[in-house]
């Protein structure tokens, strides 16, 4: 489950920098703790993103500390970075239209080819419920942050299951429309 898309990693790092300057290593740790339980960031991603933010004037180097290895750089958010972050947080995410579904395609193809469409829906239901059980168990063992992440997934899976139920109930009618 990846809760931060690639596009928003830069903005997420800006958000983590806003309370105060940090090293790349600290940023990765903070990111992984809050958002990366299933998909921790690679160091390469952190430094590539930071150099892009630096080039665009959204962060600046606050300090360069010499160490045993490469110099340790401390990054700070700039005013332009705060403006970008502010704009992003205030803008609603585009609601996903969910208008193209592989499952719908499979159901129609099954009806067209005379295969048992109800079985496709049943198999999918079993897979969805199995994942929901896994997430529910994880929720029981997790902290509040983990519970909320799992709930987000559970509500979406539940929506899919409601669709599966409704489609199962309307299979005969759909078959009449599709197979003409």
């Amino acid at each position: 489950m990846c809760i931060v898309t690639v596009m928003s990693i830069g903005l997420t790092l800006l958000g983590l920098l806003e309370p105060g300057p940090r090293h790349g290593y600290d940023l990765k740790r903070a990111y992984d703790e809050h958002f990366g339980q299933d998909h921790p960031l690679h160091y390469g991603q952190v430094y590539a993103t930071l150099s892009r933010l630096l080039k665009n004037g959204l962060v600046e180097l606050e300090a360069v500390e010499p160490g045993a290895g490469p110099d340790r750089k401390r990054y700070a958010i700039t005013d332009a970075g705060v403006t970008d972050l502010d704009g992003w947080l205030g803008r609603p995410e585009q609601p996903e239209p969910y208008l193209s579904s592989t499952l719908y395609t499979k159901v129609v193809l099954a009806l067209l080819s005379g295969r048992p469409a109800a079985e496709i829906l049943d198999t999918q239901r079993t897979a969805h419920l199995a994942l929901m059980r896994t997430l529910t168990r994880r929720k029981a063992a997790g902290d509040l942050a983990d519970q909320l992440v799992c709930d987000h997934a559970l509500f979406h899976l539940e929506a899919d299951l409601r669709w599966l139920e409704l489609t199962t109930a309307r299979l005969d009618a759909l078959a009449q429309e599709v197979v003409r």
Partner: protein
């Protein structure tokens, strides 16, 4: 899972007037297993629960609880089993409005002959486990829906039954309180080793179970009856 089933319903049929509610439903529930019975409204899932619990007698088919043929047993035997071996949670708690919550929870123990003081002591312990200690002295009309359902769960578990039957236990609650009831119900059942037959049409509620059985038009599919 290989344990011998504790409760088995085999090829159950039940008609109400001209309406068939069950038309060949089968289910097996193993000790300490939580099974969700799912299906759309009117699919027969509540009728299945009532047959399994010995509340209804099936027209055809058999219900076995351990060595007892529940579908053929005398009313007195079935009543005794319901009192001593089974616990029940319904959509609306069905608490006795004149009694306080702790008296409601203690009721099954009192009916089984336990004296008031020890029965209420045990009832209070169960209210604490169900995070409802604060309502012990209140009457059901004075508590919220979520609190009432937690009291109902405490009442269902107070005798430490071997099977808990829960029929849409969160049906009248919002998501947050419904999840809380499910978490507490399943935790408590796992602690006491009770099996749970959980009827629900909500996938998020069913996800608290170990597996699901789907009922559609009074029938179940692909149910293994032998452990």
């Amino acid at each position: 899972m290989t344990a011998t089933p504790l409760l088995v319903g085999r090829d159950l049929h039940r008609t109400f007037g001209a309406t068939p509610a069950l038309a060949g439903a089968s289910i097996a529930v193993r000790p300490a297993e939580i099974v969700a019975v799912m299906g759309p409204s009117g699919s027969g899932k509540s009728t299945l629960l009532h047959c399994l619990a010995g509340i209804l007698r099936p027209d055809a088919g058999q219900v076995r609880y351990g060595e007892v043929d529940l579908s053929a047993a005398a009313d007195a035997t079935r009543s005794a089993l319901r009192r001593t071996e089974f616990g029940f949670v319904f959509q609306f708690g069905q608490l006795v409005p004149e009694l306080t919550c702790v008296e409601n929870v203690a009721l099954p123990l009192r009916l089984a002959g336990t004296r008031r003081r020890p029965a209420e002591r045990t009832a209070r312990e169960w209210l604490e486990r169900l995070e409802a200690a604060e309502v012990a002295g209140k009457r059901p009309g004075e508590v919220s829906g979520g609190q009432g359902q937690r009291v109902a769960v405490a009442r269902a578990l107070v005798t430490e039954p071997r099977v808990v039957f829960a029929d849409e236990p969160t049906g009248a609650l919002d998501s947050y309180h419904g999840e809380q009831v499910m978490r507490l119900l399943t935790e408590a059942a796992r602690r006491t080793g009770a099996s749970v037959v959980l009827v629900t049409h909500e996938p998020r509620v069913a996800a608290y179970a170990d597996r699901e059985v789907i009922v559609r038009d009074g029938r179940t599919r692909d149910v293994e009856l032998v452990g």
